[in-house]
């Protein structure tokens, strides 16, 4: 393990971490932003209506961004906006107004790949911090040095960098470093893949990626005019689908390296996913920083991450170059083991009655689990369920329906209720 006195100090005979990294979470809409902040994110990255890379996500209007900033500031959390397309000429008109709008909405920074957007932001919205996107595929310290000299506050490294490479970059260049810790990842160097452009005429570097890398292909070899299949009849086809990134075991090493921001991927993911992943990494970071030398990863944290995983996961490049075990063949996703079924709105300690918004079907007799930042996970069998007007229900059938039922232990607004399959 790497140790550094800027990162930890001995206080009252015990080593503690004094440089705690930022936990950075994704949010596809305002509700997810609020959940991410409430569950412990120090910063949240969101997308606007333009210039971001997830044209399929809900994305935020400038008004929603301003509301997100106000909500986050109550928790001391920051908001960054992804503006990381590689622009074409036609994207230039409107850019200045958009960046000024972001500055007026009070967002702290933007995540950018194209020098057009970097320099335009400097000129028209100088209060915005500029972070270099992973779309630039930064893989060495000298390139990082270049961007520092260009005046950037932070760079997001390529997902292809290893722990040792990051250590050397940190040592040689004084700039904030952000790296991914969890979520889906490109199998190509980011920004260097245009499969989607060729296969579906959707521009991958402007948010149109159709994820062609998740499809199956057949591998052949051309010998003269003969096409020789490089697979047997029963083999799974050629695939290049990466397992999702999961660096929970590496968090201690990342903290000791002095990485400034630990980023969770997933602006398209559900609030259940965001809440679960954020709360687990919040616990890991806090526990390690409080007592690094007696820290162990708890099995319950690993189990918790598994409850919202929709693909198998692997540590990928941080821990060495990934091989076939870090890819998926035959199947490209897995069914989640838990459904998110309800969001707590209120709880009456006297009557032990919860008021909850339905998010998926449940009925009396179901065993459910509650989780949230204020509570330890617990399970409960649901007894009778009533609607808002006090009518007893045979099941909670309707999305967003408000229902009440008895929960033995205290729960808090934004706590979530999930159910195993």
């Amino acid at each position: 393990m790497f140790k550094n006195d800027k990162i930890s100090k001995i206080i009252n005979g015990k080593r503690v971490i004094v440089k705690k990294p930022e936990l950075l979470a994704p949010a596809g809409n305002l509700e997810k932003l609020k959940v991410a902040v409430h569950y412990g994110a120090d910063a949240v990255f969101i997308g606007g209506q333009e210039y971001g890379l997830r044209s399929n996500a809900d994305n935020f209007t400038l008004e929603e961004m301003a509301e997100g900033v106000r909500f986050a500031s109550k928790y001391g959390a920051k908001i960054y906006v992804t503006t990381n397309i590689y622009a074409h000429n036609e994207n230039i008109p409107g850019l200045e107004e958009y960046l000024q709008g972001l500055q007026e909405a009070g967002v702290h920074g933007i995540i950018v790949a194209d020098p057009l957007i970097i320099e335009t932001a400097r000129r028209v919205a100088p209060k915005l911090e500029v972070h270099l996107s992973t779309q630039q595929s930064l893989t060495n310290w000298k390139a990082v040095q270049f961007w520092k000299e260009e005046g950037l506050e932070r760079v997001v490294l390529a997902r292809e960098t290893s722990a040792e490479e990051i250590r050397e970059i940190k040592e040689k260049v004084d700039i904030e470093i952000e790296t991914f810790i969890h979520g889906a990842m490109c199998i190509a160097y980011s920004g260097r893949c245009v499969l989607s452009n060729h296969m579906t005429a959707r521009d991958s570097n402007r948010g149109g990626c159709c994820q062609s890398c998740r499809w199956d292909y057949d591998l052949y070899k051309l010998e003269g005019d003969k096409e020789i299949p490089l697979f047997d009849e029963n083999d799974d086809p050629f695939a290049m689908s990466p397992k999702d990134l999961n660096l929970i075991q590496s968090i201690p090493k990342m903290i000791e390296l002095g990485i400034d921001s630990l980023k969770i991927e997933g602006r398209m993911k559900s609030i259940h996913y965001v809440a679960t992943v954020v709360s687990v990494y919040r616990k890991v970071i806090d526990a390690y920083c409080a007592d690094p030398d007696n820290f162990v990863i708890k099995k319950e944290w690993l189990d918790e991450l598994d409850k919202c995983a929709n693909r198998d996961t692997a540590p990928a490049f941080f821990e060495g170059v990934p091989g076939y075990k870090e890819q998926m063949f035959g199947v490209h996703s897995k069914k989640t083991t838990y459904d998110f079924v309800g969001l707590v709105l209120d709880y009456d300690k006297e009557t032990k009655m919860v008021t909850l918004q339905q998010r998926n079907f449940f009925k009396p007799g179901d065993r459910v689990e509650f989780f949230g930042p204020e509570i330890e996970n617990f399970t409960q069998v649901i007894e009778k369920i009533w609607d808002e007007d006090g009518n007893e229900l045979d099941a909670a059938r309707h999305p967003l329906q408000i229902v009440r039922f008895k929960v033995d232990r205290e729960v808090f607004p934004y706590n979530m209720m999930r159910k195993g399959h």
Binding site: D114, C193, L195, R202, E223
Partner: protein, 309 residues
């Protein structure tokens, strides 16, 4: 009328001689340790030889250093740049800013061409790299004719456009072919097998064949068709695009030479005798079609295609 440079990728030193006679004005060479997806492998010795041949014919030599570098290669970049400066190559092609920084340090007068393959998509970015020291920008293949012309109109740097050959769609650091063989349990054969040439991925739904290969820079997947716009050069010549590139990667040298001859003729006619160009351009296209390998259909890339997002 100003003629664009005709830039071609040779497969060997001997091939440079042939290409010069076929009408190439410049060649792009290099080795996979520093450059991406080259038609031939040119170590330092071959670069020295290539310079001799090229000088004799008045052909310019550009050397590719456009790989994405990890820390392990950063320290040796300056030695290679110094070597290239001593040989007086005409330009270094880069994508990674680490190369730009190195050139500033050890060979500040060396010309630089900015080429990341996929990210030169607007005129502002081209000029940005120009202000940082690049003399030329190599445009992304995924933009259309209208965008190319508009970039040229605003450009403060030379503009290079690929007019013929296959293009790269994907680069991964991972050993994707090797990983697949290993997954299949064919462990013993992998080391040599994964570097074999001639492999392709078949996409049933689109009935496309994508060439795929591995080298020191990872796994590369290439376009299913070869671009050919020999009959559509007028707009770009009128706009005074500075360089037309024929990329010969994964093609036979004789094919690359033949294609070079035809573009030489097309460019000369288009610039000097527009009527004649219009008369023969269809024939030139047909002549290239006639020598196309069976598995490599021609198309016009993104020149006349709209993409959405």
């Amino acid at each position: 009328m100003k003629k664009p440079e005709l830039l071609v990728t040779p497969t060997s030193v001997a091939h440079i001689e042939e290409l010069a006679q076929a009408g190439a004005n410049a060649v792009l060479i290099g080795e996979q340790r520093y450059g991406l997806r080259l038609a031939g492998e040119f170590g330092r010795e071959q670069i020295v030889e290539a310079m001799n041949v090229a000088r004799k014919h008045g052909v310019k030599v550009y050397v590719a250093m456009n790989a994405l570098f990890h820390n392990d290669k950063v320290d040796e970049l300056s030695d290679y740049v110094r070597f290239l400066a001593e040989q007086e190559v005409d330009a270094i092609v880069f994508g990674d800013p680490a190369v730009l920084m190195t050139v500033r340090e050890v060979a500040p007068h060396m010309k630089l061409h900015w080429n990341t393959e996929t990210t030169a998509t607007n005129w502002y970015a081209c000029n940005y790299w120009g202000r940082k020291g690049a003399k030329r920008a190599v445009l992304a293949r995924e933009i259309n004719m209208e965008e190319i012309i508009e970039i040229k109109r605003h450009a403060e740097v030379e503009i290079e456009v690929q007019v013929h050959g296959m293009t790269c769609m994907f680069q991964s650091k991972r050993s994707l072919i090797g990983n697949y063989f290993e997954y299949q349990g064919k462990v013993m054969e992998i080391e040599k097998k994964k570097y074999e040439k001639g492999m392709f991925l078949y996409d049933k739904e689109r009935d496309n064949k994508y060439p795929i290969f591995e080298d020191e820079n990872g796994t590369h997947i290439m376009s299913p068709n070869d671009i050919c716009i020999i009959d559509e050069l007028e707009e770009m010549i009128d706009a005074e695009i500075d360089s037309f590139k024929i990329d010969g990667i994964l093609h036979e040298p004789s094919y690359i030479t033949e294609v070079t001859k035809k573009y030489r003729l097309a460019i000369d006619l288009c610039a000097e005798d527009r009527e004649k160009y219009r008369q023969v351009k269809g024939d030139l296209l047909a002549e290239i079609e006639a020598i196309q390998p069976a598995h490599r259909p021609l198309d016009t890339g993104f020149f006349f295609k709209e993409t959405v997002y």
